[in-house]
């Protein structure tokens, strides 16, 4: 594959890691010359993310509409297994009352799993097919696009802020949670004079911790999937030796795909349950 279209290995890798982009410029809408344009859209990422999200929604909706209490079919049993698994995970970690968190966790785990699963399609199949249809670039795995992972983690972050403010109130959240931890001046018995100093120190520390949540959530997923995808591309350069190596890496990657989806869901639940807890 290295010599496909007369490209060098480096060009091949570059080509595979390039998104299909469209963006507005002063010359109207332009394809694939969007580097650094904040209004650009990664069409391939959006396409696959919506198709896969739609697949998830359609499949689960389909089963939910036809589900029966007695005699569940195999598909229904499988879906119920996933739902029960998510439900158990949420119940074990999150002790509050929320109609949102469990469906959110279910959507995230299934969606991220499906997006990660795109990594197991051999790296050249879909881009070659797209090329035949006249599409120049195609990045198949949406989770190797930081826009996608940040899009999800920022939504989770907004929910963290929303629930923190809702449960703890503005004062409870900003003062109680962000300024009185981890060094509580009251417990340390410090004079009132240096309280603001300690509180400022706490605030910096806690803000970093808070901001690290969405950042680590999205970068963990992105990093794992990007590295995995890169490995697949590198293996694809090896000629005939790619077959056993690709198989081995794909088997290993099944684990990564599942694990990353699970971690993304679990951390979302943990962060949201922390947002619900009083210190």
């Amino acid at each position: 594959m290295a010599s496909e279209g007369g490209k060098t290995a480096s060009e091949y890798i570059q080509h595979h890691l390039h998104n299909l982009q469209v963006c507005p410029t002063e010359h109207g809408w332009v394809w694939n010359h969007c580097a650094g344009n904040p209004l650009g859209i990664n069409v391939d990422s959006m396409f696959f993310t919506i198709v896969l999200g739609g697949l998830f929604a359609w499949l689960f909706y389909h089963v939910a509409q036809r589900a029966t209490v007695k005699n569940p079919g195999r598909l229904q049993a499988t879906i119920e297994l996933i739902v029960s698994f998510v439900d158990t995970s949420v119940r074990d970690t999150f002790h509050g009352q929320s109609k949102l968190i469990a469906p959110l966790a279910l959507t995230l785990v299934c969606w991220v799993f499906l997006m990660n699963l795109m990594d197991l399609i051999p790296v050249d199949w879909l881009p070659t097919a797209a090329h035949a249809m006249g599409i120049e670039y195609l990045k198949v795995v949406p989770t190797t696009d930081p826009n996608i992972t940040f899009g999800m983690s920022i939504s989770v972050f907004i929910l963290i802020l929303y629930y923190s403010l809702k449960i703890k109130g503005v004062g409870g959240f900003f003062v109680g949670e962000l300024m009185m931890n981890p060094l509580n001046p009251k417990d340390l018995g410090l004079p009132k004079l240096i309280w603001p100093l300690v509180m400022a120190f706490n605030f910096i520390l806690e803000s970093v911790a808070l901001l690290a949540k969405p950042l680590s959530l999205s970068l963990r997923l992105f990093g794992n999937m990007y590295a995995g995808e890169l490995m697949f591309i590198l293996i694809a350069l090896l000629g005939i030796w790619q077959l056993p190596l690709h198989f081995g890496w794909a088997v290993f990657h099944i684990l990564v795909v599942t694990l990353q989806a699970y971690i993304f869901m679990m951390l979302t639940i943990v962060y949201l349950s922390q947002a619900h807890e009083h210190h």
């Binding site: 650094g36 998830f56 909706y61 589900a67 119920e80 279910l106 995230l108 969606w111 930081p146």
Partner: protein, 156 residues
């Protein structure tokens, strides 16, 4: 690798899918799971109840069988007693009958003996008379004994 509008697009897509899941996917599936859990719990409770009822019934059956056995034994005992009584009664009746038959046979035999004796007696008398007649016919002298014979005839 740039951050661009895709971020917003993904955020919107996520809101839509999570909303859809929350509205149309989660409630029916969880509802069905919970309903089935309730049914299973009810079924298990019913099964336990059934087992308990079965145990109770078994105890009752044992008791009834025991009672029936006792009654049967009593009935058999009574029947045996009754049979013995009947046999005893029959034996008594038979003894009586035998004695009665024996007695009547004895009486009949005695009657027969008496009759035979009478008959014999009569025949002996006739033979004696005939013998006497024969002896008398040779030795009697009608002339000498006329008077005696006449006297005898007169008496007859």
């Amino acid at each position: 690798m740039d951050i661009n509008l895709t971020l917003i697009g993904q955020t919107i897509a996520m809101i839509v899918f999570v909303w859809f899941c929350m509205k149309f996917v989660w409630p029916p599936i969880v509802g069905i799971i919970e309903e089935r859990q309730t049914q299973i719990a009810d079924g298990l409770a019913a099964a336990e109840k059934g087992t308990r009822a079965l145990d109770e019934a078994r105890v009752k059956v044992d008791q009834m069988v025991g009672e029936a056995r006792t009654q049967a034994r009593q009935i058999i005992d009574q029947a045996n007693q009754r049979a013995n009584a009947i046999i005893e009664e029959a034996r008594g009746g038979a003894t009586e009958e035998r004695e009665r038959i024996l007695a009547s046979a004895q009486a009949e035999i005695e009657q027969e003996i008496n009759r035979a004796r009478d008959e014999l007696r009569a025949q002996v008398a006739q033979i004696a008379v005939a013998g006497a007649e024969k002896i008398l016919a040779r030795e009697i002298d009608p002339a000498a004994h006329r008077e005696l014979l006449e006297q005898l005839a007169r008496q007859i």
